[in-house]
Symmetry: C2
Subunit: 375 residues, 2 copies
């Protein structure tokens, strides 16, 4: 079972820094988790993840269940050994993928009957099965199966999904405890964009006493202000002595804002996916490396960056690799972006430790050159 220790609380925000201790080691918080959907953070090696100071990565239960499947994962001794990653792994439950990816998913109180997006085969996922699969994967932090809804959704739909999410959270938790309560299972707060439903969902899940809590159903197309409003409302309702995780978020600005709301954990495909589209993060905003102005630019992506890419390669070379679709392009861009995100979190943690988070946040936003932003 996970240990969560808070080291320091900010005096002028809800930001806090601490550490989560798992069977695969310690995770300093607040933390960003690179996404390794299919047992690989796209385009980078585990050594490169460690060079970027990744302390925990995320795997996707839905994807890994379909490929390579539980038989292979069982035989190969779990995801850590399979992919040669010895630090913690968090896996989502599949809930979001049923909502976004699976074909013809039919939701019932029992679970989700869905068709694979790969070969059309039919499968049933239940809250119990979601736990079983994540136990096969050997996740350090497992997530409860939740019922995701689109944005916008009316109050009735939202309430119905919330009720199912609570029901499934209870069934998953009971099953997990019956199986010995190994590793950790987090609950996921739903409730859409309705503050009172967020509060209700949080209250119901807190009664189930999970080792940690996530806020799901954000960053699904709603305006940024509304996302902030929901997070700012929901996060303080969650137990202060347990890790709090906002799923699928977000931009560097989102991370800084939400740390200030008391969030401890984040994941997002943005640094890796955007890298593959040529968008690179810097302290002064993003650049797109395909831009013609970089054609003969001998400078690194970011003068202030000490990542492997910025220490060794010019913007001109990175532009050339990107324009010619060289595989090395995706790797180098991803290394830089992950380093940017993970280094940002390190700077955030340091600022909280020094009780300078608000000053850090002010400086962070003042340095962003909004003219260059391309979000």
């Amino acid at each position: 079972m996970l240990t969560f220790e808070i080291e320091k609380k900010s005096t002028d925000s809800r930001a806090r820094t601490g550490s989560i201790i798992t069977a695969h080691g310690e995770i300093p918080t607040p933390i960003f988790m690179p996404v390794g959907t299919l047992g690989s953070v796209k385009a980078v090696s585990v050594e490169e993840l460690k060079q970027c100071e990744a302390r925990i990565i995320l795997g996707n239960t839905y994807h890994l269940y379909l490929r390579p499947g539980c038989e292979v994962m069982t035989h190969m001794g779990g995801l850590h050994k399979f992919m040669n990653w010895d630090r913690p792994i968090l896996t989502d439950s599949g809930g979001f993928q049923f909502f976004s990816l699976a074909k013809l998913a039919k939701f019932s109180r029992e679970g989700v009957n869905f068709q694979s997006h790969i070969d059309g085969s039919r499968h049933l996922f239940t809250p119990e099965k979601a736990v079983d699969i994540q136990m096969v994967l050997g996740s350090d932090i497992m997530m409860s199966l939740d019922w995701c809804i689109p944005y916008p959704a009316n109050e009735k739909e939202t309430m119905a999904a919330l009720e199912k999410t609570t029901l499934w959270a209870r069934r998953g938790r009971d099953h997990w405890l019956e199986k010995g309560g190994v590793n950790n299972l987090f609950g996921i707060v739903q409730g859409g964009m309705y503050a009172h439903l967020r509060a209700l969902s949080a209250q119901q899940l807190i009664e189930l006493d999970f080792p940690g809590y996530a806020v799901g159903g954000l960053s699904v197309g709603e305006p940024t202000d509304l996302m902030y409003e929901m997070a700012d409302h929901t996060v303080p309702l969650l137990p202060h002595d347990k890790p709090r995780y906002v799923m699928g978020v977000g931009t560097p600005e989102n991370l800084v804002e939400m740390v200030g709301m008391g969030v401890d954990m984040f994941d997002c495909v943005m640094p890796s996916r955007n890298a593959r589209n040529g968008q690179l993060f810097t302290g002064r905003g993003t650049i797109n490396i395909s831009n013609a102005r970089f054609r003969m630019d001998e400078n690194p992506i970011d003068d202030a960056c000490n990542c492997y890419v910025c220490q060794n390669y010019s913007r001109a070379y990175l532009r050339h690799l990107y324009k010619t679709r060289e595989l090395l392009s995706y790797r180098l861009n991803t290394i830089h972006n992950l380093h940017y995100y993970l280094n940002l979190m390190e700077r955030i943690r340091q600022s909280i430790k020094a009780d300078q988070f608000s000053a850090f946040k002010k400086e962070f936003f003042s340095q962003l050159n909004h003219k260059e932003l391309n979000r």
Copy 2:
């Protein structure tokens, strides 16, 4: 100017081992040169190339001329600096690409007028320009512009191409010497599948006194026996005290055979291209990693291999990455194949030093499990 020293000659074959010394360091021979068409050996980093013991890589003049182009290459200070590779680079002349890739290439005594395969723009390449571009790239070993012909070709066509190749070799050499004779320029023997034309081409080029000689126009679709016959006939005609390079060859078996004919240098896209198609080399033949029998195979690609991939990953994981088209798949497969090729050359060199090349060759072929071959 290049120094070539022969350290040891085999007593029962024409194999020899030695070293080529260039401005960017020493190259032990016989050597295999990984192909880095566009300023990147596809899917791998320069650090990984060094871990695989790559001592020299190849760049493609035609491709680099079109992208990023000479203006960028001049501004960025040449290919070594651009791609962060501090060991020797050999560049081809573009001759083969005009033959295989450029649209509507029109050959004349003056040179080649061709249309870019990227954007259809028209360009003129001359023997002088081929040297100029390679000087901009800063190649340690430049190749003369040659006139390639398809297989089969009749004697008249072959003779005409040979004559132009000699004319261009002379013009390129004169231009190179006028420009100061920096780095090195090799001549390329043509002559198709006609032994007497191979001899004629070799004789004409030897008169031009190049620092090294290549045999071009092999591995263009002819039967393997015919390729061997031509190489075996041509290579001994070339100066024994200069490096001898057979271009675009080949399989591991080809390399072993041709080392025995006295060849010192090889290049081929096979280890990297086949890696991206899932074909992996082992001492007992090739395997295709997509094969269902590897689904739960915990073993490395090759038990006897000490490459990074075989030390860290199972066939099951590599199959999973390949089947899911993860970018890491192309990298890991390429590292293994390049390591196989470069390690094979190291073993060949050791065997020649010990005057055991013929025994090595016999053992090499006996270990290949021809049932598993998939060429």
